[in-house]
């Protein structure tokens, strides 16, 4: 078993224009073991992506206090590629598009970066694995020969993130709003991919705005994040409670002083119609 542990994490970002630092995460604690599925829910702008990117090692996020460890060893001093090779994976909310590199070529390079020079994956076993996974995700072979995310629709990008997840097989995956931009059919397909990964050696941290995703990928623990902190943790029923009360309701119940953007104030958790797939 491996453990990913976040302790009293404070993170700031620099405002490019005003040259000021702003604290986004204000003391986050979180422990995820392999074999577990966690969900973080929270209103927009509360710091969910900041948490994911900081764990992954995005240099734009400055840790001012606290620690992130894997099996007791701090990873904060390690660059993003080293963290990836230690077993971290982040399915990004906004994946980059890169011309001239095919999807397949990239995934093979990613797999090989974890292997010794004399133990690189054979083209045959790579293609076999790729074939299996694109079937699960209802993708076409043609998509793997296209340039990395280039001209992909929002939904295609999400599938492609999950395809990479399935090919790379990390220890811990953070899925940042993997449900946004997906219609129900696509969401089911993507969830199926994630569920296939389930194993005692794999832990998931799902980040979502909506409860809907949790109908397809069942969490062991649900954390609610507001204003840069985890304000409540519970089991799957917490998501349902949130669906009833909305973020505003929970905020008032907990007596937290957090600003919510309008759509979170009237949110009904069963949001639909943002799919473009």
């Amino acid at each position: 078993m491996s453990t990913l542990k976040v302790t009293d994490l404070h993170v700031s970002v620099t405002d490019e224009e005003e040259k000021t630092e702003r604290e986004i995460l204000k003391g986050v604690d979180l422990t995820i073991n392999t074999g577990e599925t966690h969900a973080i829910m929270g209103p927009n702008g509360t710091g969910k992506s900041t948490l994911s990117e900081t764990i992954m090692g995005n240099p734009n996020y400055i840790v001012t206090q606290g620690d992130v460890t894997i099996d007791g060893e701090s990873i904060l001093g390690k660059p993003v590629d080293e963290r990836a090779r230690l077993g971290l994976f982040l399915a990004m909310q906004y994946p980059a598009e890169i011309k001239g590199i095919t999807n397949a070529e990239f995934m093979r390079a990613a797999i090989n970066s974890r292997r010794a020079d004399d133990d690189q994956i054979s083209i045959r076993s790579f293609l076999k694995e790729l074939d299996k996974n694109i079937k699960t995700l209802n993708m076409t072979e043609e998509m793997t020969e296209r340039y990395l995310n280039e001209g992909f629709s929002g939904g295609e990008k999400k599938r492609n993130e999950i395809l990479q997840l399935m090919m790379i097989k990390p220890k811990f995956a953070i899925l940042d709003e993997i449900d946004s931009g997906l219609d129900i059919d696509a969401l089911q397909v993507v969830a199926q991919g994630v569920n296939e990964m389930a194993s005692p050696d794999f832990g998931t941290l799902m980040i979502t705005h909506y409860q809907r995703l949790l109908n397809y990928i069942h969490p062991d623990q649900v954390h609610v994040m507001m204003d840069g902190r985890i304000v409540k943790t519970g089991d799957a029923s917490l998501a349902e409670e949130l669906e009833e009360k909305g973020y505003a309701g929970l905020r008032d119940e907990l007596g937290i002083d957090a600003n919510l953007v309008d759509d979170d104030v009237d949110q009904t958790a069963d949001a639909t119609g943002n799919g473009d797939d």
């Binding site: 995005n58 980059a96 990239f106």
Partner: protein, 430 residues
């Protein structure tokens, strides 16, 4: 007329360059070019200042070393022509081509055995000896090179490949001149590979005249990797007659200072040139690449596509010159010059220069100088790729538009391998 301080043209050079038993017409060509060289100006290339380079500092007593290293010897099998300095190591084409009248030999042999044919094309159509000092010096001092002539209606399927090695195991001059001619409705693919052995400091002057007769088609690829100690001048010039086409793909991967003048003169109606170059500068080198296409003929078409990458403290200038001469109705000229810089200390410049003297044309250009996108690097690295591998992928992706266009798969793979090697060496010192 501006003269360069670097000019040191001793008459000894002229006699040393002469081939054994050289015919008089060639000696005369050398002499008349020599006489003009001193008065001719160095060519001007926008934003490329090379005047202080020792491009004309030739070795007075340039020696010939006829010993051929084993690794070159081992490579001869993959080429039709191999030379080291002035020494021709191999020159062979299949018998059936000889039977069809294809001429293929070194310049020295051609001057004697195919004097009439060679003299019709050598410094007459594509490059003129009195254009500027650098062409004049090449004409006076040429000491190696190839003549390829493809008769009318002959199509050569297998590429003709040349390996021309600059011998810098000692002070030796390398003034190379090649002439490629396709007569009416013929076609051929040519690969020219240039490299250096040894680490003496020498200048290099490499010229290629490509003359495509009516309705003929030439695919010309080159891969240059001269050494860090070489100051190089390249001149590759196409002269295109009616309805002919030249597709150029050039990898400028030298380690030393380079000035490259790549021109296509679209003389004939309906002639067509595609010019694609890839250049990588590393270390402290400067490479200036001046690629021009001139539309003379009606309905002629010329497209330039250039991609360059800079590492360390290097410099790279891409000039894309599109000239449309008055009367070239219905002609087309497009160009795209893009440069990617990996280091804050590198200096890149991409200049489209359009000189259009005709209304009935379609012309366009795009240019950019940029840095590697940090978001892209982060994304690739977040999947476990090291920074170096991620950078190389982004670069190969950037160069991809040119690389995928290379018609011969073997050349494409060789080019990619050479690019990777140059990038790895450049990254090592970053």
């Amino acid at each position: 007329m501006p003269k360069s301080a670097v000019l040191a043209l001793d008459p000894v050079l002229l006699s040393a360059a002469k081939f054994d038993d050289e015919p008089q017409w060639l000696t005369d060509l050398r002499q008349s070019s020599w006489d003009k060289a001193k008065e001719l100006a160095l060519p001007e290339f926008a934003k490329i200042n090379y005047r202080h380079w020792p491009l004309l500092e030739f070795a007075q007593d340039g020696q010939t070393n006829t010993n051929i290293p084993d690794d070159i010897q081992a490579e001869t099998e993959s080429y039709n022509f191999v030379s080291v300095g002035k020494t021709t190591v191999k020159s062979a084409i299949p018998d059936d081509l000889v039977k069809q009248g294809v001429v293929f030999c070194d310049l020295q042999t051609a001057a004697k055995k195919h004097a009439e044919l060679l003299s019709k094309y050598l410094f007459t159509k594509a490059i003129k000896p009195d254009e500027d000092r650098l062409t004049a010096v090449n004409a006076s001092l040429m000491d190696s090179g190839v003549f390829l002539y493809v008769p009318h209606d002959v199509s050569i399927k297998e590429p003709i490949s040349l390996l021309q090695v600059q011998d810098s195991r000692q002070k030796t001059n390398f003034v190379n001149h090649n002439v490629i001619v396709t007569d009416d409705n013929s076609s051929v693919q040519v690969l020219q590979r240039t490299e250096t052995i040894g680490d003496a400091e020498n200048p290099a002057s490499v010229a290629v005249e490509v003359i495509s007769g009516p309705g003929s088609h030439i695919k010309f690829s080159s891969l240059d990797s001269l050494s860090e100690k070489t100051n190089a001048y390249f001149n590759r010039r196409g002269h295109l007659e009616k309805d002919s086409e030249i597709d150029w793909t050039m990898g400028v991967l030298n380690d030393g200072n380079t000035i490259a003048d790549f021109d296509s003169d679209l003389k004939g109606t309906g002639s067509h040139a595609e010019v694609q170059t890839v250049a990588i500068s590393t270390g402290k080198q400067t490479q200036g690449i001046d690629t021009s296409v001139t539309n003379y003929g009606k309905h002629s078409e010329g497209n330039i596509l250039q991609r360059g990458v800079l590492l360390e403290k290097s410099a790279l200038v891409f000039n894309g010159v599109g000239k449309i001469i008055h009367g070239a109705h219905g002609s087309k000229a497009q160009q795209e010059n893009r440069i990617l810089m990996l280091s804050p200390e590198a200096r890149g410049d991409a200049n489209p220069i359009l000189l259009i003297d005709e209304n009935d044309v379609i012309a366009g250009h795009a240019a950019s100088v940029g840095r590697v996108d940090q978001k892209q690097l982060y994304y690739l690295m977040s999947r476990g790729l090291t920074k170096e591998v991620a950078q190389r992928l982004v670069i190969l992706g950037f160069l991809g538009v040119v690389l995928t266009e290379i018609p011969i798969a073997a050349v494409r793979n060789q080019m990619i391998a050479m690019i990777e090697r140059k990038l790895i060496n450049g990254q090592r010192t970053e």
